[in-house]
């Protein structure tokens, strides 16, 4: 069963919602946060036939957007239930809502949309689609492979391969068992036999037209007591309510109230039982009358949906004819298009954007953004822009540019603050263990150098720092750190703070050394431990696997990965592999991008790495001196990339 359906504006206001089973607001909140803002989970493109899905806390969320109006249509249902008609519902509701209230939504400086009446349209739509899926499900089952059915039903469908009904039944059984007892389906005992009867009563269900089906559902449904009937009955109850309202005073308020009460009452199983009884009776009596009224609404609804679809078709057809039409037609179209391009007010389509996007992609590639990241960025900008109108006196290029700037800013801006000093002070005040920071990365990117830069920065703020040499592999690694420590000790004599080196020579296990260093630091009252690790190739499984153990034993508060600004396409793979190497539940906490002074304005590596993982850049290495460590400035980076 569908749990909740909401229509939300981009500014976060719920315009209309229908709740069947209360779902915490956090499900949709996290959808917006993860998908729309942080883009952790990238939705698959809508071309693949089905709507994008998002899973959270056992709920599946499907949504579709009306870009130009800034609307998101969200359907939430339990992941255990397999609903095939949600895509259709989303499409139809979008068409309906945009058709009915599109004008109201366009008014500026107002967020009010008077859509009280939408409930009845929605109920009708639900009822229709639910009915459709019930009767046409066997037909679908033939075409879909078994793997697409819920896993639970797989074992049951095996032996009963001869029949076409059983897989369908199994599917429903699992869904009914798994849903909580709130839905009426589960509270009523169901017998498989009657359901088979009901199924056989309507063998050609899938082939029937809607109106026929409505008539059909009028007569044989009460005889069957299976799940199909219950779905129908629920639908009909809504139908009957509306009939009462129409009979009374043609007022919509009445049935709205009834609707809400009904969905509220669902909580108590016993009451539901009673209610179901009454529904069945009244429904039997009112059918003929209800039919007439409903058909009206039905036709209106179909008209709106068709109109919306037709609009889309004509737009597509116009584009097609403009492309394929005669010289006169195309040149006129071109002039018009050019004019609108200059003046603005042009609704953007994929074709319009293609050329500019290609140019933008090339531009990003020139800025050393990895191809994968550049393509994905352009795709996200395209998703953002298709269906939008360009503002007046703006060309496509400049619209694209602002949109890309926005996308870059959004990607690079960290979600939460990255104040290292405050983190250290909070952690030190809350427990006796020192703050542990470790650095990983590929060979030769500047791990030790950046480590000593961080040590210098911490010394300036009078911390007691222990540097652990956990690179036990490369010859000279420990000596290199020792030189750094000697230099820094000179400094700490003048500036305060203290620094020391913890080393166990070469050949030992890095993870154990790191763990020992933490213990040693705790005993000797150091409050920060910086762990240097051996450089490793990110696609060497043998080397990377030791990182998991390292993460467990040393248990660093922060793991930073050093990446060169010089590296190109490989940066994406580096970031991904290192991010995944610490096992489940542990991720990188940030990047240090070194050698940024050597690349000028080709700072694309930053974007590649952040885009691949969603992990922020914490520091930038900008030179050879200890003090050449900088915080990220998103504005400057974006400017450099777009210049």
């Amino acid at each position: 069963m569908l749990d909740t359906f909401e229509i939300v504006t981009a500014s976060g206001i719920v315009l209309w919602s229908r709740t069947y089973v209360p779902v915490g607001a956090h499900v949709i909140n996290s959808l917006i946060r993860d998908v729309f803002i942080e883009e952790h989970t990238l939705p698959q493109s809508e071309d693949s036939g089905s709507k994008p899905t998002y899973k959270k806390d056992g709920y599946t969320v499907k949504w579709t957007q009306a870009k130009d109006l800034g609307l998101v249509f969200v359907a939430v249902y339990q992941s255990l239930v397999h609903l095939t008609w949600i895509d259709k519902l989303l499409d139809n509701v979008r068409a309906l809502f945009v058709g009915l209230y599109g004008e109201q939504l366009k008014t500026e400086l107002s967020s009010v949309v008077n859509c009280d009446r939408f409930g009845s349209y929605f109920d009708r739509q639900m009822q229709e689609l639910e009915g459709q899926s019930d009767s046409s499900a066997p037909g679908i089952k033939i075409t879909t492979p078994d793997s697409s059915i819920d896993n639970d039903s797989a074992e049951e469908s095996g032996p009963a391969a001869g029949l076409q009904k059983p897989p369908q039944r199994a599917l429903f059984d699992t869904s009914a068992d798994s849903t909580p007892v709130q839905t009426p389906d589960t509270s009523r005992p169901t017998t498989p036999a009657s359901r088979i009867l009901a199924g056989k009563a309507r063998p050609a269900g899938a082939r029937m037209s809607r109106r026929d089906r409505k008539k059909a559902s009028g007569s044989p449904a009460p005889a069957s007591s299976g799940d199909e009937a219950s779905a129908k009955r629920k639908g009909k109850s809504a139908k009957k309510n509306r009939t009462w309202g129409e009979l009374g005073a043609e007022e919509e308020d009445g049935d709205m109230v009834l609707d809400y009460s009904q969905s509220d009452i669902r909580g108590g199983a016993a009451e539901v039982e009673q209610l179901e009884e009454i529904h069945q009776d009244t429904w039997g009596r009112k059918t003929t009358r209800g039919e007439f009224v409903l058909k009206d609404l039905d036709e209106e609804m179909d008209a709106i949906i068709q109109e919306q679809n037709a609009k889309k078709d004509t737009a597509a057809a116009a584009a097609a004819t403009a492309a394929a039409g005669g010289i006169v037609g195309s040149s006129l179209g071109a002039i018009g298009g050019y004019f609108r391009n200059v003046v603005g007010g042009k609704t953007l389509t994929k074709e319009d954007l293609a050329k500019s996007l290609k140019a933008m992609e090339e531009h990003l590639l020139r800025k050393n953004v990895a191809r994968e990241a550049a393509v994905r960025l352009c795709e996200s900008v395209e998703r953002d822009l298709v269906g939008m109108k360009t503002p007046s006196f703006t060309t496509i290029e400049s619209t694209l540019r602002t949109s890309m700037e926005k996308a870059l800013t959004r990607i690079l801006t960290p979600t939460s603050s990255l104040d290292l000093l405050r983190e250290i002070s909070t952690i030190n005040s809350s427990r006796s263990r020192p703050y542990v920071l470790s650095i990983v990365g590929v060979n030769g990117v500047g791990k030790s150098t950046n480590l000593s830069k961080i040590a210098f920065f911490l010394l300036q703020n009078h911390h007691r720092v222990l540097i652990a040499a956990a690179d036990t592999f490369r010859s000279g690694a420990v000596e290199q750190l020792r030189v750094h420590v000697r230099n820094l000790q000179e400094l700490s004599k003048r500036e305060g703070g203290s620094v020391d080196l913890f080393e166990k020579g070469y050949g030992k296990d890095a993870a154990n050394i790191a763990a020992d260093a933490v213990v040693y630091a705790e005993k000797h009252h150091f409050n920060v431990v910086l762990i240097d690790t051996a450089g490793r190739r990110h696609n060497d499984q043998r080397l990377m696997s030791s990182l998991e153990k390292f993460g467990k034993l040393a248990n660093p508060d922060k793991i930073l990965m050093v990446g060169e600004a010089l590296v190109g396409t490989d940066s994406v793979a580096q970031a991904r592999n290192f991010n995944a190497s610490f096992g489940a539940g542990r991720k990188l906490d940030g990047f240090i991008i070194s050698k940024t002074d050597t690349v000028g304005d080709m700072v694309g590596t930053l974007v590649s790495m952040v885009h691949a993982t969603g992990i922020p850049v914490v520091f930038l290495g900008t030179g050879q001196h200890y003090s050449d460590l900088r915080n990220l400035n998103v504005g400057v980076i974006t400017r450099l990339l777009m210049s």
């Binding site: 729309f36 940024t596 050449d628």
Partner: protein, 294 residues
């Protein structure tokens, strides 16, 4: 046909013919009218109404307050992804300070009650909407910083709010100190709206104030000690030691909101709750603050 011929268009245009005179007259009369209507419509769309900017961390209740002001009810809200401007009327018992002595029947009174609320997304990645508005305030009369008084009790919530508030105040201060006129720019007051007072764990307004002040002084100190920005190093400019930005008066010690008066920003803290369960709650204090600055 050459331009100097008898019946070329240039000769026609310069000869005393009726058609030429009519066309010239038509252009002379209609062009200004068209131009006027075009410009007028443009000016009308960009309304000069006083604007109040809503900022604050995500989940504070900004969008809820916006809708409450607009329609008097609070629908369910989710995190915003785009800013939202809304034209609203100051709710009834509150009177704009500018028309304190106007009678309620006066059309100017009604007009003065209208204002725009600009709701911005509070999510960390989307704050550039708010900061870009702050950099160029235009019609902004006041800034309302909505904060969840219950979330402030916890370290994470407090830090997020304090950092955001620090940035907002700092950009106001920068605007004041960078002003070129000797008079200084228009004052923009700040209201810290401590929301969700109906919750059991919510802190009272006075304690929100002290907590925020303390957290902001910490943010200020940490910012001073932190690494410098990559801006100058990357854009190739010479790296002279630009002065670190320091919010409020110079010198050590803790930050107080009263210091902001110096730069023309009065900071008030008023508690309220946008919604009480499903019903609309009590935000009279915030509305009266808007009234005072309208």
């Amino acid at each position: 046909m050459a331009w100097y011929d008898e019946d070329s268009w240039l000769t026609q245009a310069l000869s005393p013919k009726l058609s030429t005179i009519v066309i010239t007259l038509a252009i002379a009369i209609f062009l200004p009218i068209l131009l006027h209507s075009f410009l007028y419509r443009k000016a009308a769309s960009a309304t000069g109404l006083p604007t109040f900017l809503l900022v604050g961390p995500s989940g504070g209740g900004k969008t809820a307050f916006t809708t409450l002001t607009e329609r008097g009810t609070v629908p369910t809200t989710h995190p915003s992804t785009t800013p939202l401007s809304i034209e609203a009327l100051l709710p009834d018992p509150h009177v704009p300070a500018s028309s304190h002595y106007r009678s309620p029947g006066d059309p100017a009174f009604e007009r003065s009650r209208r204002f725009i609320i600009l709701d911005t997304p509070g999510h960390g990645k989307l704050r550039n909407y708010a900061t870009s508005t702050l950099a160029d305030p235009g019609n902004v009369r006041g800034i309302i910083f909505v904060v969840d008084a219950a979330a402030i009790d916890e370290e994470a919530g407090l830090n997020e709010a304090a950092e955001y508030l620090h940035d907002v105040l700092l950009s106001l201060q920068k605007r004041y100190t960078n002003a070129t006129t000797s008079k200084g720019p228009k004052e923009i007051p700040v209201l810290i709206a401590a929301n969700k007072m109906d919750l059991f764990t919510a802190l009272p307004a006075s304690s929100v104030k002290t907590k925020l002040e303390k957290a902001i002084s910490e943010v200020r100190n940490n910012r001073a000690k932190a690494l410098r920005d990559a801006g100058a190093a990357l854009s190739g400019g010479d790296e002279v030691d630009e002065e670190k930005e320091w919010l409020g008066e110079g010198g050590e010690g803790s930050f107080e909101f009263d210091e902001m008066r110096e730069i023309g920003t009065a900071v008030d803290i008023v508690g309220g709750n946008v919604c009480q369960g499903k019903n609309s709650g009590d935000v009279a204090g915030w509305w009266s603050w808007i009234g005072e600055h309208l």
